[in-house]
Symmetry: D2
Subunit: 296 residues, 4 copies
């Protein structure tokens, strides 16, 4: 299979189940909604050593937010409901409550699972917090230095999927990287998915396990161009650099759409030679996303 | 004391000791150095509930970095050397090693305290990592999908100060916020300090303690404009919003300079009425920064 | 009429007919599409002394562009077909043909009026240009240093409207400015309109005519807060700053939608006191946009 | 000569004399200073068909501007004093006077040549403008909707140089483009120079003259990779894309420094193969910048 002359490997991405909380942050301007969202989703690339996986899903125009202000959806992902609850409390409390002019809306009001994060954040009000109706929803109002912080009492979460992915293999670093940027640009317009790594891109895709007992993941040697001489890298001669796009999402369909849109965008960039994906014999997880089926 | 008609309270900022690690990230372009830096310093506003306090110190022109590429200094701050070591390992490993095209240099090579963070990150190479000389320093080279990741073997750290601060009190939210933005713009050009909150600004300055036993910090009621009727807010009638700029730095002098430069910038914005600072009877820490002395 | 406590004046915006050419620029990434668009639409605020009015209409996701790359719609506006043709040739030739990785698509392929701008730009190829089919349209291919530049042979244009507007009057500069930013954020998500002034905002709204014969427009004294003592400014005491949002669009409906969406967004910002609009007894033009009717 | 394995051609850039006006724009925040600067310098790549060449020189920290606010230096360049005066009046009047919160300072107060641009802009005040002392300089104060616009009465200009340049030749478009971005990042930190093309980069470097009488410049066929088969392109097989960085500056030394810093930055990017420069047998102009001498 080829797109614009780029070979698409007949392989699949292996992914795993994760719990995803979703939050809508609004602010006085798009710029300030983004500042809060970036802080709240930082240090959130992989649950291997980050306290959560997190990312910005998309910008929401003021015409589509409950309070008529510019907004941003973010997702926060953890392996258990318990750790997700901790993440939501800490990240919203430390990074959105503290951010200028923000309000926090439940990003999954229909979900079965609901955390009373907003209610708990209320204690920061030191007794001066109160319940109010806001945009026809139940909110907590907390007096703060800039005025009042409004946060919906509950934040919803769902069983989602983490680790959806594809690899972009290129003639050199800049070609693969610009293709990764084009892919992330495209995915950032969709709803339901995040690309949690820096700028949406992974420079150091990993495999499950390592030769060291204390390390659960290590560099994906089969895709490391500088290991060709050692005979552990199977990449062809003309591939000298690759990037991985990792995608988390609230549904299988959302991840498939993101992979489709991202791969197509990557294949418009000169110097991109091949698209592949990462799978680990089921050691990572039960979900499979076959490139050829998605792109058909 | 007045600057441009803005009253400067005769008060002081109270601050506390913290351990600060400093890292220079370089990348193929300023944009990608910043992406890595943002991810590595996210979820890093306050040690109350974040795993570290962290922020971008400043952009470094390619003419001033060891490898001649655009760079960014970041700081990562923890209460103990042990937790700082954990933070450095996790944040560099998960957010910079994974970021496209980055290299990592020790940001405090002269400091007495040095962590072997780079060496430890090497294990990600699964046996293919190696020591090299790079820019006349000792580096670890780790094969990854984009090529080779270069990280200096040691990262230095010093006893620094956290919680340097000033308050910007305004006629309304936008006035105080734009002044905060001007202050952060100014501080971002200096070396040695970070403003770890979202966009550099705190909307919800806190006091030490609360009426709830489980909560170590709560809203600073004396500066909450919406609590005027309750009699706990001492702000004058015309102040309806305030922001706090929190500053961490590697030395007392760096924080003083940042406060001076930040306050002066804030006082150029229309609608700013008063500058104050937060102190808590010594409950927060031993360091004091008196506004009038700094601005003299 | 009030929105969020902000008074909406019972007045109207006066606007005038203009010719609008519309271009879709695509590029390797959204960032580079925007760089080209910004250069091509710069020095384009008002036909009073600029060679055209011009602006970025909106970002177009790669899933919606003919070549599958990120895109940006721009509009270029002139008083006559002749001057518009000159503008299109010069702005696309000097600012898009020269910009990295761009391609140029006709933004109004259905319009009756079509300029052969792309064909004329072909001469830059010095004989090596050629006609090709691209995305099922007629293009000119021009060999350049980065490879080949692709530009659609014709660029469409329509009779549009310039000078749609509203005023945001605030307690101080930052409040009115942040409201203007929120309005521009909102309008930038719509199709069919541009806000041609710097960052979408006018700080110095003008009236038609002046006391000097050589000057066709001058400061709108009735809305200049610093002229209250002179008795020429009719603004109430509490208004100390105002901004104008000027909107050009390819149809009356597009401008009405932009005014509606922009005013609503502006009214979410604290410190905004009043919304008004500019009209000049018909001296500017025949089109009228009544605020109350639009907002009903 | 080689830098990081990149071959530096033994050639020179040919450049020509130009008149340069320099302006310091300050604003409430760096963001708004940049918005004004971008609008004022847009549609300003080449005097061939733009009304001026123009660009952002550098950001100026608030600690270094006369009014203590964030600032940006811009340069505006024309072939004659007369056309430069027209450009200054139109670009400052239409793009900075109209931009939110800006003030305008003379960027070359020591220059012999001074235009009374600020004074002339005063007429926009329709009789309400006045002279004032501001930051110890002579300013014109013009009442506008946001308050008062302050512009220094005179704007200085010097005999400068346009067309300083170098070429970045790469294995593919993304490699050459990322190198161009790194070069522009580096040059943007220097004082005295601008890179007037979109994002600082030229995709379609030109030669003097063409086979068409009406066209003074046309594609630089010797450097067009897609013309290798026609025998007019002399580039080696492995070069498939090139970009030109064009530099204007207020002195020969400023341009040399920008070329040196820019070339060095470009040579850090993988996939860059060669650096060259454009010269045209003296048809473009009398100034020569020899790469090997500059880089020694």
């Amino acid at each position: 299979m080829e797109i614009n002359g780029v070979e698409i490997d007949d392989t699949f991405a292996e992914a795993f189940p994760i719990k995803i909380g979703r939050v809508l942050i609004t602010a006085i301007s798009e710029r300030w909604a983004l500042e809060a969202a970036r802080e709240a989703t930082g240090f959130g690339t992989s649950v291997i050593m980050c306290p959560a996986e997190a990312g910005i899903e998309c910008i929401v125009p003021s015409t589509e937010t409950p309070d008529g202000r510019p907004g941003v959806y973010i997702q926060i992902c953890n392996m258990s409901w318990k750790s997700l609850e901790t993440s939501l409390l800490a990240r919203i409390g430390q990074c959105v409550l503290t951010a200028p002019t923000t309000a926090v809306f439940n990003g999954l009001p229909e979900a079965e699972k609901q955390f009373d994060t907003g209610k708990k954040l209320g204690y920061f009000g030191d007794g001066y917090q109160c319940e109010i109706k806001y945009c026809n929803r139940n909110f907590c109002k907390i007096p703060i230095m800039e005025g009042d912080f409004l946060v919906e009492e509950t934040i919803g979460a769902v069983d989602g999927i983490a680790g959806g992915n594809f690899y972009i293999l290129g003639q050199n670093q800049p070609a693969a990287l610009m293709a990764a940027e084009a892919a992330v640009d495209a995915i950032s317009k969709l709803r339901g998915t995040i690309t949690p790594f820096p700028g949406g891109v992974v420079a150091s895709g990993s495999k499950v396990g390592s030769r060291y007992k204390f390390l659960k993941a290590s560099t994906n040697v089969a895709f490391c161009p500088s290991l060709k001489e050692q005979g552990v890298c199977a990449l062809p001669e003309n591939v000298t650099a690759g990037y991985e796009i990792v995608i988390n999402g609230i549904s299988r369909e959302a991840i498939e759409e993101a992979m489709r849109v991202g791969i197509r965008a990557a294949c418009t960039v000169p110097g991109v030679l091949r698209i592949s994906a990462g799978n680990f014999g089921g050691k990572l997880g039960p979900h499979q996303f076959h490139l050829h089926r998605i792109l058909d």
